[in-house]
Every structure is written in C-alpha cells, then in structure tokens.
C-alpha cells in the first residue's frame, strides 16, 4: 500500500515538474512571439502610406509649420524609424505603450478602458454559446439523421449565414425600438453613473459595490450585444460539437459502454463528451479570441466603447502607437488563450499530462 502511495507521489511530482517546464518553455516562446508581433505591427505602421501627423492634426493645424514641428518633436516622429522602434521597445519593457497621437492620452490607459468593455461581452457570449452549443450539438449527434438533427443543422446554417452586423441592427430595432424589451446603446444608460473600477466588468463592479440598479442596467445593455455575438458563435460551435460527438459515438469504448447497459445519458455525459472535449476546447479558444479581437461591427451598432472600436479608429486616424498597442493586446490575448487551452488539455487528457 505504501509503495503504491510512493509511486503516486512520484508520478504527481513528475507531472508538476513537467507542467512547470512546459509553462517556462511557453513563457520564453511567448516573449519571442510578442517581440515579433511588436516588430511586425510597428513596421506596418511605418510602411503604410499616409502622414500620421496630418491625420492627427487635421487641415488647419497641419498647415502651421510650428505646430507640425512641435508635434513631431513631442511624439518623437522627427527621429529615424529604428530609433523610434528601440525607444518604443524600451518603454514597453517599462510597461509604457506610448501616447495616442489623437487623444494625447497613454495608450495603456485607453486600452485599460477598451479591453474590459469587449472582454465583458465576449466572456458572457462564450459562456452562453458553449452551454447552448454543447446541448444542441450533442442532441443533434445523438439523434443523428432524425428531425432534431435536421432542425439543428438548418438553424445553425442560418446562424452562420446571417451577417453579424445585420443581425445587430435587426435585433436592436426589434427588441429595443419596437418592443422595448432591452435597454439602448452603450454600456449603461446616460442617467446611470459608471461603477468605481475594480475589474472593468460593469456587471461585476456594480455587484461588488452593492449597486443593484447599476447591475440591472448593465445587464440590460449587455443583453443584445451578447445575444448577437452568441448566435454566430453558437452556430459555429454547435456544428463542431455535433461532428466531434459523432466521431466519439462511433468509437469502441462508447459502444462498449452502451453494450454494458449504461443509459444513453450516462454514456454521453460520462464518456462521449469527455472524449470530444479536446477538439471542442481548441475551437472554444479560437472563438473566444475572435470575440475578444473582432467585434468591430457589433460594437459600432451598439455604440460599445470596446477594443474593436478603438482599433478601427486608431487605424483610420493612423494613430501609430495605438495601432501597435492593439496589435500587442490581441497577440497577448491569443497567447494567453492558447496557453490556457494547452494547460486544460493536460487537465482533461491524462495522456497529455503524462507525456
């Protein structure tokens, strides 16, 4: 018995060391990748045709040589590109993402407001999408070829085919303007005061401050953007869950479980879903990253002051450091998500853990 315990302890320690080595290796790779992202994004802002000074100053001020000169000096645009890059990287190491040419505010401060706004809708959208997709996808696979399967497949196909921005406009007109079921645009109503910042998620911050009015108002404003983003993600995930579950249902161990007399529900929940979890997890990671970084049109329709809106405005205005900052944030988002997915692989699959 004690020998068994010792073996278990050794195995556990070995697994911990393996995990630590894995995390250390990923951290080093991430730093190299992030440097690459910064290099590419910074280079693109230099290569792209157009004068950022004119874009930032506008017609009148750009005709004033004194203002142009002062502006170039202030933002270091009078320096050669390679010096600007090294200054940028140096500042980056100190956590300084530079100053927005357009707003004159630190890019990190701008992003600190924009990222949680997008993260909040993305977080709720992915939770809802995952829950619905697992149920629908599993149901469709379990009843392969039957009416339920056909309906789910057609509905998800429709969900994939409808442009998200169109769905956003449509649902906003219907549920807000016609039916008055949901609140208007933005994160909160104009008569409501934003919560003191703790997490940046208004729903959570209102709750932490015990402000139920603010919490309900924030929920009311979240409802439609989350719904619209969820619809597309549900459609994508559902089809993928169906395929993954179908593959596992045909595997020997699933058949064996059914042959042993286990109920269909127990087979699906206890065996099939666990087996199908790894590919689903990968897609969930990608979908979450996509929600965090690619919600420009939905944010525009719902006047949501998030990362997509910030990125669009920064690109349009040739706001160089803001564009680079967004590139860096999106890069970090994908790196973190991939890391989390890889770690969860280990948690879900003992073979990965032990390898």
């Amino acid at each position: 018995m004690s020998e068994t315990k010792a073996i278990a302890t050794r195995t556990s320690r070995k697994a911990q060391h393996t995990l630590l080595r894995f995390l250390a290796r990923r951290a080093v790779t991430s730093v190299i990748l992030l440097f690459g992202i910064v290099l590419v994004t910074f280079s693109l802002t230099v290569i792209v045709p157009g004068d950022p000074v004119r874009a930032a100053l506008g017609e009148g001020a750009a005709s004033n040589p004194a203002t142009v000169e002062a502006f170039r000096q202030k933002y270091g645009l009078d320096q050669p590109v390679w010096i600007r890059f090294f200054i940028y990287v140096g500042n980056l190491l100190r956590g300084d993402l530079g100053t927005s040419l357009k707003s004159g505010q630190p890019v990190s401060a701008d992003l600190a407001k924009a990222v949680p706004a997008t993260a909040e809708i993305a977080f709720y959208a992915i939770i809802i999408s995952l829950a619905v997709a697992i149920v629908l996808g599993t149901l469709a696979a379990y009843r392969r070829g039957k009416v339920t399967d056909q309906v789910v497949r057609v509905v998800t196909l429709i969900g994939l085919s409808i442009p998200t921005f169109w769905m956003a406009i449509l649902t906003y007109q219907l549920f807000f303007m016609q039916l008055h079921w949901v609140s208007g645009s933005g994160r909160i109503s104009p008569t409501i005061t934003p919560p003191p910042r703790i997490t940046g998620f208004y729903t959570i911050d209102y709750l932490l401050n015990g402000d139920s009015v603010g919490f309900l108002d924030a929920i009311g404003h979240l409802a439609l953007p989350v719904l619209v983003l969820s619809l597309f993600t549900i459609a994508t995930l559902t089809r993928f869950v169906r395929t993954s579950v179908l593959e596992v249902l045909d595997m020997d161990y699933a058949r064996a479980a059914r042959a042993k007399g286990l109920s269909g529900r127990r087979v699906v929940v206890g065996y099939v879903l666990r087996g199908a979890a790894l590919p689903i997890l990968t897609l969930v990671g990608i979908a979450f990253g996509s929600l965090l970084s690619g919600t420009v049109l939905v944010e525009a329709v719902f006047a949501w002051p998030g990362l997509g809106t910030y990125a669009y405005n920064a690109s349009k205005n040739l706001d160089l450091l803001a564009v680079t900052g967004v590139g860096l944030v999106v890069g970090v988002i994908y790196l973190v998500i991939n890391l989390v997915v890889d770690v969860l692989y280990g948690v879900l699959d003992p073979r990965v853990r032990l390898s």
Partner: protein, 529 residues
C-alpha cells in the same frame, strides 16, 4: 424531477428573471423626459470627434459643440447665423484700419467658481493658445498680439487688416478660461503647459454648463452652472453627449426614446422620421469639389483651364444633388451659400459648351484617373457614388475617367502635395468667415494643390489680395463676390455639392440650431412648451 435538474431549472429561472429585470430598463431619455419639460436630463447622440476638454488644445467638431456650452468666448454667433459676431463676454470696437480690436468685458460676468472674468483671464487664455505650439488651435492666433489695457479691457492687434478677427474669436478654441484655476493646475502660456489632464476632467469656464465628466470614447456629461450670468440660461440640469458612431443607431435611439437629439442623420433617414420629431436640415459649410491640376507635369493633357471648363459644363448638378439628401444644395462656387460673397446661382449643365471647351483643351479621349477618399463621408454624403455619377456624366461628354479610391489617410498625401491630376475632395472653413475660402485662389493653399500658381491668373490673385486687405466689411464682401464669380468662371475647381446637416430631436425639445463651428448649439436647446 431529479434534484440536480431542479437546481439547474431554478438557476435558469433566476438568471432569466435578472436579465428581464435588467432589460426592462428601456428608454433612458424617455425615463428622464418627465422632467425634461422642466429641465432634467437631455441626451444628445453624435459621432465623436473629441480629443480633449482643454479648449486651447481643441480643434475638432464635437469638442467645439461641448466646449461652446461650457466656456464663453469674447464674441459669439447667435443661432444659425454665421455672418455677424455678437458680444458674448465682451463688446468690441475696431479701428479704421481693422488692425486693432478693443474688447471690453461686460459687467457681472463670472466663472463657475463665482470669481469675476477679468482682462488677465482673457490675456492668459489667448496667449496660451498662441504659446502652445503643438496645440491644433495655435494657427488661429497667428499674427495676433494680445495686450491688457485695464482690468476690463483687452486689445488684440494685427499687422495687416484683419476683418476676420471677430469671427475667429468666436471659436471655442479661443474660449476664456479662469486663469488662476488653470495656472494652479499646470496651465502656462508656453509649451510647458500641463493643464490638459486637469481640463480633461474639470472645467474652468463661465458658460451655462460645467463639465462633470469626459470620456473620449463614450460620453461627456455637462451639468448646469448655477453661477452663470449671461444671456443663455441653462435649460437642463444635465446634458449627456454620447458617442454613437453609426447614424442608424442614432436614428433607432431617437425613435426608441433613448436619446432626445440626433446630430448625424442622413437626408434619407430624416425623411421618414414622421410625427413626434423636429428636424432642422440646412446646408453645412463643407463643399465637395473636383480639382483639375493645372501643372502640365502632373495633369498632362488635362492641365488646362479649358479642360476644367469642359468638366464644369459636362455635369448635371441636379442629378448629383440627388445623392446628397435633405439640406444639401448645389455648390454655387467655392464659397458656400451662407457666407457673404457666395454666388447666387450655380452652373447649369451645357453639353455643347462642354464639348467645345473639350475640343479647345487638346484632350483626345485619354483615360484619366479620378482620385478620391472613400472612407470619409461628409455630411452623410459618400464619395464613391458621387464619383461614379461624375464618371458617368463625364463619359457622356467624351471624357473617360477611371475611379481611383483610397482611404483618406492615404489619399490626403498626394492631394496636399499637389500630385493629383484629377480628384474629388472637400473643404470646410477653418473659422466662420468667408476668408476661409480664399485658399482656393491662385498661389494659395488649395490653389497650389491644383498646381495653380499666383501668376497663372493674376486677376484672381489680385482679388484675393483685395479681400485680404479690405478695411471695411462692405469692400471686403464686394471683393469676395468678385472672387467667387471669377473662380466659378475660370478656376481649376468644379464645386459640386454643399452637403446638408440634419439635426433631429423629439418634439419635447426646442431650439435646435445648426452652427457652422459648433454644429449643434447646446445652449439654445430647451424643453418645448
């Protein structure tokens, strides 16, 4: 039902109840509109172009709108008028040469902290804009010196006649700030100025509203200034100006009762608003025009006044105007219709005249590129359909144009460097004065972008000089009129459309006024009786 499922069901019901309760928040402007007949909160939706709450560093439309409500200027425009500056903080007298302008601060004017407005505040405010060289508004103070005469009087001087100065000082960028408060928070009159951060969160003005909060990406909140002592008494306790970038969302918000005023609706959108809404459609001060470069090295076969004439008469302006919607009018020249000196009527299509001019120009049917920015609609007018219609109409007159769109930030470079042979652009005034349109003249800023040097048309260049040096309003307006007429006859520009601006509000709000500089006058808005 098994226990785990009961828990799940209960959780789902609770979640649904929370969502429904939250969702029923509904229409915020309507919720506050009970009080809007006696003040309350006014919600205004607009697509933000907002960079700071510091008036001396501001030079963008939403900034002008907001800061005009918070800060007073020496002079101002009333309502939709953009021709006659009226006293705001001060009255004005000028000398016969139009080089000295003496401003006397009106009695009783106070900042929001209750301290009186003095000449020192005026000198500090204007010197700050002149001294902060990286301020976008710095150019407004070019050539103007400011001197205190006594505690209530300030003199602004220029070396050359400057009849545009009264219009310039109406600009919210030249607002008068409480110098003691701003200095205490880092304000200076040179590049060391560090008051921006404080002014982005607070205000130090004497206008009818004060700044409660400013978020450059989402909303600005203004509250009533109880100590305001001017003519525009604040009608609302609070004004919330929100950033709604999509005009379709502005429309839905207005119809759904989430906002009281929408600023950026297109002509088509206001057409279908129906009862319960007030619409104010008016021509803006922007002009869409075609540029025909007169430099042979750039324009080649099309670099001639005759080719410009052919283009001018080849176009059907009424058909072009169809693309612009309510409030838009044909551009009658380089000066928009609301400014003194503008032509009374525009060019009419004359294909015979166009073909004759084309034959005389030496153009023999070559493909020419029509360059334009395709991501920067002006007054709701998209450039791509306008360019397409121009292309189609020119083809009927024998001119073969291919479309060459590009993003604004990319396209603006060759435009300002005079590298475009044929392009579609727009121009708006730097300040509300006809002199803002003199840059189209030969040898001037926009003229040079068309490869049009001063010596290319000495007579029009003389008209520009005459208008710039005029010392009486009548003489200047007469010079503007001659300039506009001459430009329309022989300039390298073909003005097309003055896009409309469409302000819309619920009928519970009155006083909807468009102004060239601050777009919507928040001061004049009040609950309808």
């Amino acid at each position: 039902m098994a226990r785990p499922y009961r828990h799940v069901a209960a959780a789902l019901v609770a979640a649904a109840a929370i969502v429904l309760a939250g969702c029923s928040g509904g229409n915020s402007a309507n919720n506050s509109s009970n009080s809007s007949s006696s003040g309350g909160t006014l919600v205004v939706d607009t697509a933000f172009s907002l960079e700071t709450g510091d008036p001396g560093r501001n030079y963008v439309p939403t900034g002008n709108m907001v800061l005009h409500a918070v800060y007073d200027t020496l002079l101002t425009f009333q309502g939709a008028d953009s021709t006659t500056p009226k006293p705001d903080l001060a009255t004005m007298k000028q000398n016969a040469d139009a080089t000295e302008f003496t401003f006397t601060i009106q009695d009783g004017r106070k900042f929001s902290d209750g301290t009186p407005v003095t000449a020192d505040d005026v000198v500090f405010s204007l010197d700050s804009v002149a001294g902060i060289t990286d301020s976008k508004a710095n150019f407004l103070m070019a050539g103007i010196t400011v001197a205190k005469v006594d505690d209530k009087t300030v003199k602004l001087s220029t070396k050359t006649p400057s009849l545009q100065l009264p219009a310039i000082v109406t600009n919210p960028s030249l607002a008068i700030v409480n110098s003691k408060v701003v200095q205490k928070n880092g304000g200076t009159t040179d590049d060391k100025d560090a008051a921006k951060t404080w002014l982005d969160a607070n205000s130090a003005g004497s206008g009818p509203y004060t700044l409660q909060s400013l978020d450059l990406t989402s909303q600005v909140v203004l509250v009533k200034n109880d100590k305001y002592d001017g003519d525009d008494k604040p009608a609302y306790d609070k004004i919330v100006v929100r950033n709604i970038s999509q005009s379709s969302t502005q429309l839905t918000n207005l119809k759904g009762g989430d906002s009281n005023v929408a600023v950026d609706l297109s002509g088509d959108q206001v057409k279908n608003l129906g009862d319960g809404f007030t619409v104010n459609s008016a021509p803006s001060a922007e002009t869409l025009f075609l540029l025909i470069n007169q430099d042979k090295n750039v324009g080649g076969a099309t670099a001639s006044p005759k080719f410009a004439e052919a283009v001018r008469y080849a176009l059907d302006y009424d058909k072009l105007l169809e693309l612009a919607g309510s409030g838009s009018v044909q551009a009658t020249g380089v000066i928009p219709p609301m400014f003194p000196g503008a032509n009374k009527s525009g060019v009419k299509q004359d294909l015979e005249k166009a073909k004759a001019a084309l034959a005389a120009s030496g153009y023999t049917g070559q493909e020419i590129k029509l360059q334009f920015p395709n991501d920067n609609p002006v007054g709701g007018v998209e450039f791509t359909p306008v360019a397409e219609r121009v292309q189609e109409q020119l083809k009927a007159a024998g001119i073969n144009a291919t479309l060459a769109p590009a993003p604004f930030a990319t396209e603006v470079q060759p435009y300002v460097k005079a590298q475009e042979a044929f392009s579609l652009w727009y121009w708006g005034p730097d300040y509300a004065d006809t002199s803002s349109f003199l840059p189209f003249g030969p040898g001037q800023k926009v003229g040079l972008r068309a490869g049009w040097a001063a010596e290319a048309d000495a007579s029009i260049a003389d008209l520009v000089t005459k208008a710039q040096n005029a010392t009486s309003v009548d003489a200047r307006n007469s010079a503007f009129g001659d300039y506009a007429k001459a430009m329309q006859e022989s300039g390298p520009f073909v003005p097309l459309i003055v896009p409309g601006i469409n302000l819309a509000s619920s009928t519970k709000v009155a006083g909807l006024e468009y102004n060239v500089t601050w777009t919507l006058d928040l001061r004049t808005l009040h609950p309808a009786k």
